[in-house]
């Protein structure tokens, strides 16, 4: 069985089943936005949602993660977490799955990162394919992440009265095995799936003004690197770090030790850290290798569209649109990249604050 079918009225039953199998995280509403949270009541799970405030990366690369415990006298270190628990990320969008694939590239590159791998091993991903573009900030079509491209265990597609579930791993198969209400998909289901995909092609349009190789080319030219456009982006930036915090592929961290009041026991943590912070590239002696907000913003963009392509042959923008959506200064990725694609106008690019949120 490669494709299974689940009737919508049986969804909650399945969620209850998943809850028993492992810790279940799914999107739910938080004020006017969405967040991934542990599922307490399956009725709170939202299947139609805008990208969450933070991507699910908080579960495999936590904001503040215990690395090890230690004592000073006698000097001893021990694992901070003896055993990691199994967990399921439910209804993950394809853009966020692409984010997990990027993290995998980073943390599996030698020397492998055991802290990430410990958590990754226990993860099961149940994806949810989008059929409605979320808003003007997302650029998932240009990045090729609006359709499933692997990296998940199960992928759900809403075909009206039921979900088609693509089974992509044994781990995924185990979550639907031996359930009377989940059956193999029939021909009719598969036809509907095909129809949905055809329909989707008509609705989802590329958001960037040029295909990716052209984007890469633009980022590779010295003119782009030196473009006054970055001064304009940096002028508006307040270095709040929101764009990097919400990015599914930003993985920078700092490591800090915290002592107990006994001054003999302590814990080593790693904490998210961002290239947008003032002190990020400052070293002993006060030298700053990336001075000023324009240079730091430029670095962020190059870390998405240029450097990882050179190093891993992979774009590190997944197109979720979070950085633009969260930016109170309206530094919008699509706008910046499109401006850069047009060297003649890039020099005179003026961004503006114009996207006042609609308050309901």
């Amino acid at each position: 069985m490669k494709y299974a079918s689940l009737k919508k009225e049986d969804l909650n039953k399945w969620l209850e089943h998943l809850k028993k199998k492992a810790r279940l995280y799914a999107p739910r509403k938080k004020e006017n936005l969405f967040v991934f949270r542990p599922v307490k009541n399956v009725k709170d799970v939202c299947l139609e949602y805008m990208p969450t405030i933070l991507p699910p990366k908080k579960y495999y690369f936590p904001q503040k993660e215990k690395l090890l415990k230690f004592t000073v006298n006698p000097f001893k270190t021990a694992k901070a977490i003896a055993e990691f628990e199994e967990y399921i990320l439910f209804a993950v969008h394809t853009c966020d799955i692409a984010g997990i694939q990027c993290m995998d590239v980073i943390f599996r590159e030698g020397p492998e990162d055991p802290n990430y791998l410990n958590r990754k091993e226990k993860m099961t991903i149940v994806g949810m394919e989008c059929f409605k573009p979320c808003d003007k900030y997302a650029n998932c079509v240009s990045m090729g992440n609006h359709v499933p491209r692997g990296g998940y265990d199960l992928m759900m597609v809403d075909i009206g009265k039921s979900f088609i579930i693509h089974i992509n791993s044994q781990k995924g198969e185990r979550l639907i095995a031996d359930l009377s209400y989940i059956k193999g998909a029939n021909e009719n289901d598969m036809r509907k799936l095909e129809e949905k995909r055809q329909e989707k092609k008509k609705i989802f349009k590329e958001e960037l003004n040029a295909p990716l190789p052209k984007v890469y080319e633009a980022f590779s030219s010295q003119g782009s690197f030196d473009s006054p456009l970055w001064d304009e982006v940096g002028r508006r930036c307040v270095a709040c770090g929101n764009c990097t915090a919400v990015c599914p592929t930003c993985y920078c961290f700092d490591v800090a030790d915290e002592m107990e009041l006994s001054f003999n026991e302590g814990t080593r943590f790693r904490i998210w850290n961002y290239c947008q912070m003032d002190d990020f590239a400052r070293v002993a002696g006060g030298e700053d290798f990336r001075k000023g907000r324009p240079a730091r913003q430029r670095h962020r963009y190059y870390r998405k569209f240029k450097y990882p392509v050179d190093k891993y042959n992979r774009y590190f923008c997944v197109g979720c649109g979070r950085c633009s959506r969260t930016c109170m200064a309206d530094i919008i990725l699509i706008e910046t990249v499109n401006a850069l694609l047009d060297p003649e106008n890039a020099a005179s690019y003026v961004g503006s604050v114009k996207n006042r949120p609609e308050v309901k």
Partner: protein, 255 residues
Amino acid sequence: MKKQPKPKVAFFDFTDCEGCQLQLANMGNTFLELTELIDIVNFREIMSEKGEDYDIAVVEGSISTDNDVKRIKEIRAKAKILVAFGSCAAIAGVNGIKNRTSLEVAKERVYADKAHTINTIKVMPLDRVVKVDYYILNCPPYIPEIIAVFKSILMGKPYPLPNYPVCVECKMNENVCRYEKDQECMGPLTRAGCNSWCINNGNRCYACRGLLENPAADGAKEILEKYGLKVEDILNHFTLYNDPQGEKYDQEFAR
């Protein structure tokens, strides 16, 4: 660990509401744990003894009279380590509002016909008068930070203040950004370290920890204007807690 004599700690207050000292009392058991490591010799709010022999002086409140200047210098001379405790001591805090008008006007507003009896000077944070070794920010101080600073003092290492905005911690806490709800917030310009305490609890950031070393005044002004704030409102937001720093922004925003 080798048994060392406990450092003697004294608490003092200047112009303020004494809410910072109250936060110590609010620490509960952790405060008792702390007293295992330090000897409190002077703490008006919780004890009647008044020791004048101390290693560490924890001082709250701003300097606002000539007598304050004399007194803080005396404290500094006796203490090996001086801690500015809370917004008033560290950045002058709300008291700084007084600096917006002339001293004569300020005195008359508060004391009316008795104004001539009052000795007062421009409000200052402690470090305008004496050297400060450690800062505990916030109004009132954030308990985990109080503990963190005391740990640093007892280990003899510096406590570097975060030089990034409250947004960094706020986003880690996955709060809905107030700007996304069309509400203003000083988070983007305010030094972090409070774990976005106010926003976690549905309030906005008032910049009580002081501004960043390098705030993006230009960008921030544009953002605040986007949300319909007038220049005076923006200035009030900037200076509610930060007038000694606000003087600077006064000029920037007056342009």
